[in-house]
Amino acid sequence: MRKIPRLEEWYPNFSEEFEKTKLPSVMERVTTEEPPLPKASQPRPEGWWREYPHSLWIVDRGREPTAYELLHDFIVGKAMTSPLAISIGSTPPSRLILFEVKHPTRGVEYARIFLNPTDVMEGYAEEEPDVVVRIGYYDLVAVLCGELPPFNPLYEGRVEIIGNTVAAIDLLCDVLEATNGREAPPGSPTPIPRPVMWPLGHP
């Protein structure tokens, strides 16, 4: 049997080679940074509400609309013009939906929508709402304008919804999508595709 050399002779640069075998640290491989805001959710330049097509439904008050005004204009100027949205909005039981909207400069604003019968009101609800939606102002704008799917900001972690899920689906998905002209795929039993678990009108 041949003479066994010393470890240093076999691997003169052992410590350096060993270091190279290590993976980079977890902190270098994993980032906790949030992805950048999509373009539709970023703050908009002054006067954006006067631009087409927003000018079709937002009243120009000489300043950026408040959350209440935005929702009000949306219902009056946009949803009311969609027969499908009206039909869907009148199907579920009465729903009270409270919006807590955070504007980057104006702070938090409250507004609420009452579905079936339809109404838009300003301020915090005195009755317990079915659902509370905490949303950024420009996310709300993007959703109301139909630039983002209604649940998109929620699943990307920028919106919080507390309360009755089905009420959120009724308003956020069905009414908003119908208003923004989404059409049912061929063969769909409902005007806007609904999960089988909660058919349209389900409490």
Binding site: M1, R2, I4, W10, E34, P35, P38, R61, T66, Y68, P93, S94, L96, R106, G107, V108, E109, Y110, F114, P117, D119, M121, E122, G123, Y124, A125, E126, E127, L148, P149, F151, N152, L154, Y155, E156, G157, E160, I161, I162, T165, V166, I169, C173, P193, P195, V196, M197, W198, P199, G201, H202, P203
Partner: protein
């Protein structure tokens, strides 16, 4: 509350009292409204499945056949047991199984179980781990597995013994190893050898990530990653395993049945050393003792750790299986592309359902059985058969499938354009509330479902697994998945029903929540590294399956190919295994109708019988 700015028409809104009165005006009789939707519920898979199980209307609030079902005689299996119990009593002169003592069972329906994913209907007793040989074989196949890295041994041979290691020598060693694993002698005369029919399930096979090494090896001894996994999965697994050569050693089933799981590493190390001695012509104590030492301790992957003193188990026993390994035993996703689930769900709903079904196959057929039947129902509490029924809740009736299909539909419908779901609690909470609200509503709408899942642990098993899967599969984080599961049980179930366990008992998931993110020793860990014996949470049945759902769903969510160890994942893809880890529920169903042949039988050395 912000103060509204002054504007035109302010007066109209000053009549606030009148407007707010309208909110109170509408009393919402939601239960009455929900009754309108019962006809739609009849179209659900769940309805058909429960109707099939009970042979009655799943919405019925009363069982008109109560006390009229003929007691235990309604079950053919129990009739058989009563007859065999009498036979045993006569033969041995001692009373045995006797239906005349104890509670008169069978006043309610003894529901048969349709094993999900199959068309096989079995009785509850057929899923007991002592009656079901597939469950036994699943455990045996895990316990008899040890994985050893050969690079250290090869380095030792070249450096210490001056031997040359070539493809030819490795193939000779592998052929010799099959002989020694079956108890054949190679280095000494006068050794007792073993009847080959007793150990026909013992063998060893190689895993490598290198195409070059693979091409040089005898294909019979190879677990071929390229053949067994979808190319996208194979690519990731091969990259992770690299050029290393691992050998998967499977000792005979009979050996782990006679000793315990700790026998596996000892048998494997001994027979592996003997194969090296024979194929490389080794002698001399120092090299052999170093080889034996390395095969026992250096880069040896055992399937389970030792447990603390009170549990008194060696390695490779179920309480020590890390949850990540349990999920790597599961193989049902092997043919599916390794893609992020969110992308798949956004593109194609039907394709996404396949991923969830793969998860149900694994968590229902493997994790739930290991946790409920084997660990809690057998190792911990002796075998009374309660927690088997929790496992069969996960196995049975396409119930979880029904819920998970709805989950996919929900994700497909509402995540369009979502780039990445962040592991944030506010986001996850909404998703969990959504799906658990639906699951709990289903229990309320279907009284037969509540009858079928009669214990708290049964319902916890379903609700916790669905919650864990929801959060895990969307965020790719097993910690988020487990947080969702604990939250759904400790908060959503508690708030909705006030009781979480059976008969008003409480399942202690609120203990799991605060310790979830802890990494202090003996207090917390990554979910992948926890195990069935993890203390800082509820010890109720079902929690192993819930953790497995979190870990496996997170893997699917990230588009990974393994949860904790690529070599463990590949080792259980081996087609030579007796139990099929890709189709566990089919194996268990076949065993229920006596069509599954296990290993480890002693017939070759028994008198004719």
């Amino acid at each position: 509350m912000s103060s509204p700015p002054e504007r035109k028409g302010e007066k109209a809104f000053q009549e606030r009292g009148q407007i707010e009165a309208r909110e109170r005006e509408y009393v919402r009789e939601l239960y009455a409204v929900s009754a309108r939707f019962l006809p739609l519920e009849r179209e659900r898979v769940l309805y058909a499945s429960l109707k099939n199980t009970f042979g009655a209307d799943p919405f019925a609030l009363q069982d008109s056949q109560m006390y009229k079902r003929g007691g235990y005689r309604q079950s053919k299996r129990k009739q058989e047991f009563a007859r065999l119990g009498r036979q045993v009593a006569v033969e041995r002169g001692l009373p045995a199984y006797n239906r005349a003592v104890g509670l008169p069972i069978g006043q309610r329906q003894l529901e048969p179980i349709l094993i999900a994913g199959t068309n096989i209907m079995v009785e509850q007793d057929d899923t007991h781990h002592l009656n079901n040989v597939a469950i036994q074989q699943m455990l045996d196949d895990i316990k008899r597995t040890v994985i050893v890295n050969l690079d250290i041994a090869h380095r030792m041979l070249t450096v210490r013994a001056g031997k040359e290691v070539t493809p030819e020598t490795i193939n000779l060693y592998l052929e010799t190893l099959q002989h020694t694993m079956c108890g054949g002698a190679v280095a000494q005369e006068h050794m007792s050898e073993i009847n080959p029919l007793l150990v026909k399930d013992a063998y060893a096979k190689v895993i490598t990530g290198s195409d070059e090494v693979k091409d040089a090896l005898d294909r019979r001894f190879l677990i071929d990653i390229d053949q067994l996994f979808h190319p996208t999965r194979a690519e990731k697994l091969k990259e992770a395993i690299g050029d290393a050569i691992w050998i998967v050693l499977r000792i005979p089933t009979l050996a782990v049945r006679m000793a315990d799981g700790d026998e596996a590493a000892r048998w494997a190390a001994m027979q592996n050393t003997m194969a090296f001695i024979a194929s490389y012509g080794l002698s001399g104590e120092h090299i052999i003792s170093d080889l034996a030492y390395s095969f026992k301790h250096a880069r040896v992957v055992r399937m389970g750790n030792k447990m603390w003193y009170q549990r008194m188990r060696g390695t490779n026993e179920p309480g020590g299986f890390p949850d990540g390994y349990i999920c790597d035993f599961m193989q049902a996703e092997r043919d599916l592309p390794a893609r992020r689930f969110l992308e798949v769900a956004q593109e194609d709903e039907e394709e996404a359902k396949k991923y969830l079904r793969a998860m149900n196959e694994g968590t229902g057929g493997i994790a739930a059985v290991i946790d409920n039947s084997i660990w809690l129902g057998f190792y911990m509490s002796g075998g009374i058969g309660f927690s088997n029924t929790v496992a069969s809740a996960a196995l049975a009736g396409n119930i979880i499938e029904s819920f998970s299909d709805e989950l996919v539909e929900l994700i497909h419908r509402y995540t369009m354009g979502v780039r990445k779901v962040p592991p944030k609690w506010e986001t996850v909470k909404f998703m969990v509330n959504t799906i658990i609200q639906y699951t709990m509503e289903s229990y309320e709408k279907f009284p037969t479902l509540a009858e079928f899942h009669w214990g708290g642990a049964h319902r916890v098993s379903v609700i916790g697994s669905i919650a864990a899967a929801t959060a895990g599969i969307l965020t790719g984080s097993s910690t988020m998945g487990l947080m969702a599961a604990h939250y759904s049980i400790a908060h959503v179930m508690k708030e909705g029903w006030l009781r979480t366990g059976w008969a008003g008992q409480e399942i202690q998931d609120h203990i799991g929540l605060p310790y979830l993110c802890s990494f202090r020793p003996e207090e917390g860990n990554l979910v992948e590294l926890r195990g069935l014996n993890y203390p800082m949470q509820s010890f109720s049945a079902a929690h192993g399956a819930i953790r497995a759902a979190a870990v496996y769903a997170a893997m699917i969510g990230r588009g990974s190919s393994w949860c904790l160890s690529p070599v463990v994942k590949v080792a259980f893809a081996d087609p030579h295994l007796v139990f099929d880890f890709k189709h566990p529920r089919l194996c268990i169903a076949k065993a229920g109708i006596r069509q599954f042949m296990p290993a480890g039988e002693r017939d070759p050395v028994l008198p004719p019988h």
